[in-house]
């Protein structure tokens, strides 16, 4: 019987208005892959962050290797052999792989025996050796900004290993990876276990847990629901415990009934910030009552495609026509009034004014209309009733209702607020850009439901996502974008997952 390497005993952690962890006790054995599963806001990240010293518990104790520890900083956690890969990587993008890995623990040599300097040669050599030993392929001298997401993740893992971490924490590690990359990530994790590492995986993707984890803790609303042996538990059971009720994994939907053409994109070309063509000569049409989904690996022009159709970036070639009106390079406000709703990818910097109250965020794109503003004076009562209406209709939960500062809300509820705001405009075209990134299964289901409902209402829906499951779940038509061009457009029923994967990687072109 393996020994418990980490023990949480009666951990409680409160944030203003929320109990993030409520008397959670669990133990993790040495050398196992332990998954923590839960919806957003269930408290899984908080729990694990305390192990990594980012927060301190309000009550309860953490034992590491049988010893009571007060982990008050990530540095101290590091000294206990605990490492963490965050959802958003923490790498210096203009440094090389080796420089990033040794940062803070650089091998030092003395010039003339006195002046200390970083021994980059030794660092490169050490990293190459380390990468060899663990089978994590990286080139120590590559610069981070030239590397893809999967490689950057390997660099993050090597960073932990270089620090001789024995307990490795991964926060949502697969959120940004392609199916092929996920498969290889799972191999990496298995390999690490064979080397005797203990792995803690925070995720809400059930199939990954099933594939790789030994045991799995399920959390819901700050409480530990159960710890299951993954081999014997079914995904249905896990899902039910996670959300507290049954969920089905595919959104039920009636067959699509296409109407007339709503959005007509012809030969669209868009430059990115660097002045290079990010979208190249793209043409497609979306009909009323159609979900048109664009699949692709991150960074292949999806952002520019969505932003240009929503009017946020300039179009350098081609036309965009909505309901017969040319909206090419119209202002953002003209796009709103002509009927383009847009759920942007970056909900923190674009979709919301985070320091506004929830109530002030709802009319963000309509505040100037007569409904909210009379002769330039805002109607306080209208803000209030509108806020209450949307909170009710879209089940948006927050500490203090409409007066809650949006920053203080959970990611899922922030996204619900954006979706509520955009869908309530009842526009003919709705653009969803990565609508469920980082959200839990319950929220994902809810958003997919909305996507299909909007389609049934007769809207044209453009769904751009990196998550293939999402695309397969919602799409009537699937397009694959690669390197700024649309490689393939096909009815969803006539294309297989593997085929989509090949188009996504640019292996196949139409």
């Amino acid at each position: 019987m393996a020994e418990n390497i980490v023990e949480f005993r009666h951990i409680t952690k409160r944030f203003p208005g929320i109990i993030a962890n409520d008397d959670v006790s669990l133990s993790i054995k040495e050398g196992e892959i332990f998954a923590v599963l839960g919806e957003n806001g269930a408290g899984k990240s908080t729990l694990v962050s305390m192990l990594f010293g980012m927060y301190e518990p309000d009550g309860g104790e953490i034992y590491v290797r049988g010893k009571l520890e007060h982990i008050n900083s990530p540095r101290y956690a590091g000294s206990l052999g605990i490492g963490m890969v965050h959802q958003h990587f923490r790498l210096v993008s203009n440094y090389t792989v080796a420089e990033n890995i040794v940062l803070g623990l650089e091998p030092v040599r003395k010039i003339f025996g006195v002046i200390p300097s970083v021994d980059m040669k030794k660092a490169n050599h050490d990293i190459a050796e380390l990468s060899e030993r663990y089978g994590l392929k990286v080139n120590p001298t590559d610069v981070i900004e030239n590397l893809n997401v999967a490689t950057r993740q390997r660099v993050e893992i090597l960073k932990m290993l270089y620090r001789e971490a024995e307990i490795l924490i991964f926060d949502e590690p697969t959120a940004v990876l392609t199916p092929q990359e996920i498969a290889s990530f799972i191999d990496i994790v298995r390999g690490l276990r064979e080397q005797g590492k203990t792995i803690i995986l925070i995720t809400h993707k059930l199939n990954e847990i099933k594939a790789v984890a030994d045991r799995c803790a399920i959390m819901n609303r700050g409480k530990l629901i159960d710890v299951l042996d993954v081999k014997t538990a079914s995904t249905d059971d896990m899902a039910r415990m996670m959300v507290g009720h049954d969920i089905s994994f595919t959104t039920e939907r009636k067959p699509a009934r296409f109407g007339g053409v709503i959005l007509d994109v012809k030969n669209l070309t868009v430059k990115n910030a660097a002045g290079l063509d990010a979208v190249k000569n793209v043409s497609f049409q979306i009909h009323a009552g159609e979900v048109f989904a664009v699949a692709g690996v991150s960074g292949n022009g999806q952002n520019e495609l969505a932003d240009s159709i929503a009017g946020l970036v300039k179009i350098s070639g081609g036309t965009v026509t909505l309901n017969g009106h040319d909206i090419t390079n119209a202002t953002v406000r003209e796009h709103i009034t002509k009927g383009v709703a847009y759920i942007p990818e970056d909900r923190h910097n674009v979709g919301l004014v985070l320091d506004f109250t929830l109530r002030d965020n709802f009319p963000l794109r309509q505040y100037y209309t007569p409904k909210f503003s009379r002769k330039g004076v805002l109607s306080e009562s209208e803000f209030e009733t509108y806020g209450e209406k949307l909170e009710e209709a879209y089940d948006i939960r927050s500490g203090q209702g409409g007066a809650t500062i949006t920053r203080a809300m959970s990611g899922g509820n922030q996204q619900k607020a954006i979706i509520a705001r955009e869908l309530d405009m009842k526009t003919p075209l709705i653009i969803f850009m990565q609508p469920t990134r980082g959200l839990d299964a319950g929220a994902v289901m809810n958003i997919h439901r909305h996507i299909v409902d909007e389609r049934d209402r007769g809207a044209a829906v453009l769904l751009i996502s990196l998550d293939l499951d999402e695309i397969l779940d919602c799409a009537d038509t699937i397009a694959v974008i690669y390197n700024g061009s649309i490689n393939k457009i096909s009815p969803a029923s006539e294309i297989s997952t593997d085929e989509i994967g090949l188009y996504m990687m640019g292996v196949k072109t139409a």
Binding site: L312, V332, V353, F356, L364, S373, G376, V377
Partner: protein, 342 residues
């Protein structure tokens, strides 16, 4: 409400600090502090010279406070829109100077106010335009503007507009001055700040403008998150320009109530330090227009009362400035601390 508590804590801590210093100097902090109030006309002095009493002191206090209210409002509005207007001093100077010039042609108080408003607004607009047209950081351009304006105006005053005795500019004609200086009433000589009601009204209006109008909504959204404001269909550039123009206009009002009111002349070679103090006053007031009035009141008590305190207690004036500096530093710290806590 939380901001109010923060400011209050800042004030209390600084007063304790100040008391400690006074005590270390062998002075009695309580008497020293009451002397501040006495000097500001908020408590009775031991004796008064001819034609003066507590009321006249209080009226002079109001006179000193008026430009500070405008200046801190200028800073607060700019901060709401995401701008750090460190050029209030230069805008004040320019507005004051233009008003002096205008008063020579048209000696009217209303003309002085209008010219000051427009002059300040022009400088603010220029800074805003440089920001959105060429993406020049407003801190850099407004500091440079401070110097440019100060040297130009100094040159003009020294060459054409100097009072050789005082080594300051000539005084503004009293028909155009915004302070009724030495007004006789019941045997008293009173300084009446005519712009004070305007300052208070402006603060109340600004509060309403920021919180309740479409423009205010746009200013706040653009200040807090320019990307989200753009996504919302707002014209972020136009809003930036408007914010800086309005901020400049408020600084202009500060300028005329200072150089054509509290003072009657312009000292060449310097920019008024009030423009910089106003930044801290605005922070102390939580960037809220009404808070700015309260913070201006407190800071003016210290600066105005310090003259009396130093003469009575034989304490250097600088000690009072030191206490004011403490308050402002703590206010700045507490507002930053408040931001870090989520």
């Amino acid at each position: 409400m939380r901001k109010f508590t923060q400011s209050l804590i800042a004030i209390i801590i600084s007063l304790i600090f100040g008391a400690l210093i006074l005590w270390l100097m062998g002075k009695d902090p309580v008497t020293a502090y009451t002397d501040l109030l006495r000097g500001s006309g908020l408590m009775e002095k031991v004796r008064y010279s001819g034609r003066q009493n507590m009321f006249t002191d209080f009226m002079s206090f109001i006179d000193a406070m008026t430009p500070m209210i405008f200046a801190s409002l200028a800073v607060a509005l700019a901060l709401k829109g995401g701008f750090f207007n460190i050029g209030v001093s230069g805008q004040m100077l320019f507005a004051g100077f233009c008003a002096h010039m205008a008063a020579m042609i048209l000696p009217s108080k209303i003309a002085v106010v209008i010219v000051g408003l427009i002059a300040g607004a022009l400088i603010g607009a220029l800074i805003g335009w440089l920001k959105y047209r060429f993406n020049v950081n407003e801190v850099v351009s407004s500091i440079m503007m401070n110097s440019i304006l100060m040297y130009l105006i100094t040159f003009y005053i020294n060459t054409f507009y100097i009072n050789p005795v005082s080594r300051q500019s000539k005084s503004i004609i009293s028909a155009a001055r915004l302070t009724l200086s030495g007004f006789r009433w019941e045997g008293l000589k009173i300084d009446i700040a005519l712009a004070f009601p305007l300052a208070v009204a402006t603060a109340l209006f600004l509060h309403w403008f920021i919180e309740r109008t479409t423009y205010g909504y746009e200013i706040k959204a653009s200040g807090l998150s320019p990307n989200a404001a753009y996504y919302a269909g707002m014209n972020v550039n136009r809003t930036a320009l408007m914010t800086m123009t309005l901020s400049g206009a408020l600084a202009g009002l500060a300028g005329v109530s200072y150089f054509c009111g509290y003072l009657a002349a312009i000292q060449p070679g310097v920019v008024p330090s009030m423009g910089f103090d106003a930044i801290a006053v605005s922070l102390l007031g939580g960037n809220n227009p009404v808070g700015c009035v309260l913070a201006s009141f407190l800071i003016t008590v210290i600066s105005k009362g310090s003259v009396y305190m130093s003469s009575r207690q034989n304490i250097d004036m600088e000690i009072a400035s030191l206490i004011a500096a403490f308050i402002l530093t703590f206010a700045a710290c507490s507002s930053l601390l408040g931001r870090r806590r989520k």
